[in-house]
């Protein structure tokens, strides 16, 4: 039985893309403590991505490496959820500038971490021993990310009129992107069949319970979903991923194999 590499790339790309996004707050956090918190969350995510890329490189063999996978693939080869590549603000075209909105950052981290504690927890029993080992570490880290995001979600939702309005707008903007969690891509289907992945569909009631509980405590409402379901995990991305990768990959591409 072979481990479906595309599924590992999906997990790795999720982590590296959100890690890169959150790192944008480094030096720009709304307060010093949050600047440090987001940098630490990013370090965890990038660490998880490195372990997963190393596992992929090991399975692929040849000259595959974590750096090649992170820095020398283009946007259409990335398998992350579209949710994770969006900028830290409401809907705008890719080249438009806007102030970063911390409510957007927090809501995204909350929605993603609530999913990933469940995914990592299940993956501890993966048929791929390498992935199971990574999952056992990641579940502990992700539960701290979830606590952090949930605390701020409640604090802002149940805060001032301004903070409530902003965090509700972020929930309304981002919640539709979570529909992508619940569709099964070919890579996920193959990995579930090989007992390497967990079936995300089975995690949905637990995710809903965590999300509804937090939104209720934060005095926020959950929007009804109707419309387009994004397909980042099969390589069909928003216009934002190219900009993110251009920044993340430019140094490695300008100085291939550079060491310092």
């Amino acid at each position: 039985m072979s481990t479906p590499i595309d599924y590992l790339l999906h997990l790795a790309d999720n982590a590296v893309v959100l890690g890169q996004r959150n790192a944008e707050w480094c030096g720009h956090g709304p307060i010093l403590e949050e600047d440090l918190a987001l940098a630490n969350v990013s370090l965890d995510l990038i660490g998880q991505a490195r372990l997963l890329y190393q596992r992929v490189a090991e399975l692929k063999g040849g000259d595959a490496s974590e750096d090649q996978l992170a820095y020398f693939r283009d946007a259409h080869e990335f398998r992350n959820y579209t949710l994770l590549e969006l900028p830290h603000h409401g809907p705008l075209v890719g080249y438009a500038a806007a102030d970063r909105d911390y409510a957007t950052t927090i809501v995204r981290n909350f929605l993603y971490s609530a999913l990933m504690v469940l995914v990592w927890d299940g993956l501890q029993n993966s048929a791929d021993a390498g992935l199971a080992a990574i999952a056992a570490k990641s579940v502990k880290e992700t539960s701290y990310h979830l606590h952090h995001a949930r605390d701020w979600l409640v604090r802002m939702g149940d805060g001032t009129d301004e903070s409530h309005a902003r965090v509700q707008a972020a929930v309304d903007h981002l919640m539709p992107y979570t529909e992508e969690f619940w569709t099964t891509s070919p890579a996920e289907g193959a990995a579930v069949a090989a007992h390497v992945a967990v079936d995300v569909w089975a995690l949905r009631p637990a995710w809903d319970a965590m999300v509804n509980d937090a939104l209720a405590e934060a005095t926020l409402s959950r929007p009804n979903f109707h419309g387009y379901v994004t397909e980042g995990k099969v390589g069909l991305h928003s216009e934002h991923l190219g900009f993110l990768l251009a920044e993340m990959q430019s140094l490695a591409r300008a100085h291939p194999d550079g060491r310092w």
Binding site: N40, D44, V117, A133, S143, Y144, A214
Partner: protein
């Protein structure tokens, strides 16, 4: 234990954590094993947090110490079983406390309910390492590093780091 592995243990015993120089890698549970494998000596280390930036330094320190000793041994990073703060020795916890870092609590017993990921342990009282007061509050879940949270003491008013259970 062979003489060769004993020599390596003795040499690596003194290596400390680059971020928290009062505790050794062995006390933190990062330095796991020294094995006399058929194809040579092997030193096993395990990472703390996946993204801990000190891991590269730790591996370099281990290699440098082995080179100093003139021992040819490979350094292997192993993820499983995953590192946990429960491996930290009582001596290490006492040293952290003396250094001004509140040592980690033992992790609570596993819970299987759906909401386990967002529930807080009931007795999560962290005592101030400066004055011993239990009247403390969290300032931030993430302190100077991912492994620590930032707390404040309501009695002596001092801020301090808490090494989080992992």
């Amino acid at each position: 234990m062979s003489t060769a592995t004993e020599r390596v243990w003795a040499a690596l015993e003194a290596l400390t954590d680059p971020e928290i120089p009062v505790v050794t890698l062995r006390e933190l549970g990062i330095l796991r094993e020294v094995n006399d494998a058929p194809d040579g000596l092997e030193v096993v280390i395990t990472p703390t947090y996946s993204g801990c930036p000190a891991m590269g330094q730790i591996e370099d320190d281990v290699r440098a110490r082995l080179a100093e000793l003139g021992v040819a041994a490979r350094v292997v990073t192993r993820l499983s079983p995953p590192w946990t703060t429960d491996w930290m020795s009582d001596a290490a916890k006492a040293k952290l406390h003396a250094y001004g870092i509140a040592p980690p609590h033992t992790r609570p017993a596993p819970d299987v309910s759906v909401m386990r990921f967002i529930k807080r342990p009931a007795a999560d009282v962290v005592s101030c390492p400066h004055c011993g007061s239990s009247r403390t509050v969290v300032t931030s879940q993430f302190g100077s590093t991912a492994c620590k949270a930032l707390y404040k003491c309501l009695d002596c008013q001092e801020p301090f780091d808490y090494f989080k259970p992992y």
